[in-house]
């Protein structure tokens, strides 16, 4: 019955005291937020806890929702912060907001790709395999929270840079740098697993941009280095 309403209309009706309108908002976002919470917490009980707490917070704070961000951004921000609190509690760390972690110099040097090779299989097919799923979850789990969160929102949940920045209370520049680091980190990890070893390429010489590293000589050098023939 509420299927045709826009989110703005549903929020307005919920603020006027209509529970079913609020319930419809929950219907529309629960699956996405559950996936996000699982992405952050990696454990269903905690993810359930995060989603339930987030919606209760939203219910309590509905009157203070000003509509300067979309409901989606607002509820995602609440769910993300709730999940982060649980994560930090679990790890025995003090609860700090995400932006406090930004003091580290983020303009620093970006780590260059090292392991470069075409993948042996189509990622859409790889994603269906259980052992692959475990491998990519492991890689994601190794990523620092501040990068993981940006990657989850931007690339997995398809938030814009702006909405990711608003959700995580970061600057857009910060989001971009963190996303680049996250993508490069995960690329490196996954290419070591899925890359075609035989056709592995030598990383480019970063002083120059126009070297061709696919020559037989460079491949031989690479092979010798891997065999331990070179220092």
């Amino acid at each position: 019955m509420y299927g045709d309403y826009t989110e703005e209309e549903l929020v307005q009706q919920a603020r006027d005291g209509d529970f079913d309108a609020f319930d419809e908002l929950v219907n529309r976002h629960e699956r996405r937020l559950y996936s996000l919470a699982m992405g952050i917490l990696r454990q269903s009980e905690d993810a359930e806890d995060a989603v339930q707490t987030a919606f209760i917070k939203a219910l309590d704070a509905l009157d203070s929702f000003r509509g300067d961000a979309s409901f989606k951004t607002w509820i995602t921000r609440i769910a993300t912060n709730t999940a982060l609190k649980i994560l930090r509690k679990r790890r025995g760390l003090p609860t700090v907001s995400l932006d406090e972690a930004t003091t580290e110099n983020e303009d620093g040097i970006i780590k260059h790709p090292e392991y470069i090779a075409d993948w042996r299989a189509d990622p859409a097919l790889l994603a269906q395999q259980d052992d692959v799923k475990r491998a990519i979850e492991d890689a994601l789990a190794q990523l620092d929270d501040k990068y993981r969160l940006v990657f989850l929102l931007r690339d997995v949940h398809e938030f814009s840079t702006r909405d990711t920045a608003r959700t995580l209370e970061l600057s857009e520049a910060n989001v971009k740098v963190r996303l680049l680091r996250a993508r490069l980190f995960l690329r490196e990890k996954l290419t070591r697993i899925f890359g075609d070893r035989v056709n592995r390429l030598h990383p480019p010489d970063h002083q120059h941009g126009d070297h061709d590293f696919t020559t037989a000589a460079s491949l031989l050098r690479l092979y010798q280095a891997e065999q331990g023939a070179l220092p």
Binding site: F19, I56, P113, A127, L190
Partner: protein, 81 residues
């Protein structure tokens, strides 16, 4: 255009969020630089892989509990309708 330039603009390039003029320069570099081209492919594959696998079904039992608890909370806040 160097590999370092490409690295700096990698996100914008992968997201298709780049000025056409700059994009042309990057494209030229990619045509000549096999490793960079593979890195761009790898990044796209990485994103596709995570997008395809990072989805979890919400447990039915939990979903029921969630809606019940929200209805309860609503009643506490607003009283019965």
């Amino acid at each position: 255009m160097t590999c370092d330039d490409l690295l700096k603009m990698l996100n914008d390039y992968v997201d298709g969020d780049i000025d056409p003029g700059v994009c042309e320069g990057l494209q030229e570099h990619l045509d000549d630089c096999n490793p960079c081209r593979v890195v761009v492919d790898n990044i796209r594959q990485t994103i596709t892989l995570y997008k395809g696998s990072e989805s979890y079904e919400i447990p039915v039992k939990f979903r029921r509990r969630l809606h019940d608890s929200l209805r309860e909370r609503w009643k506490q806040k607003h009283g019965e309708k």
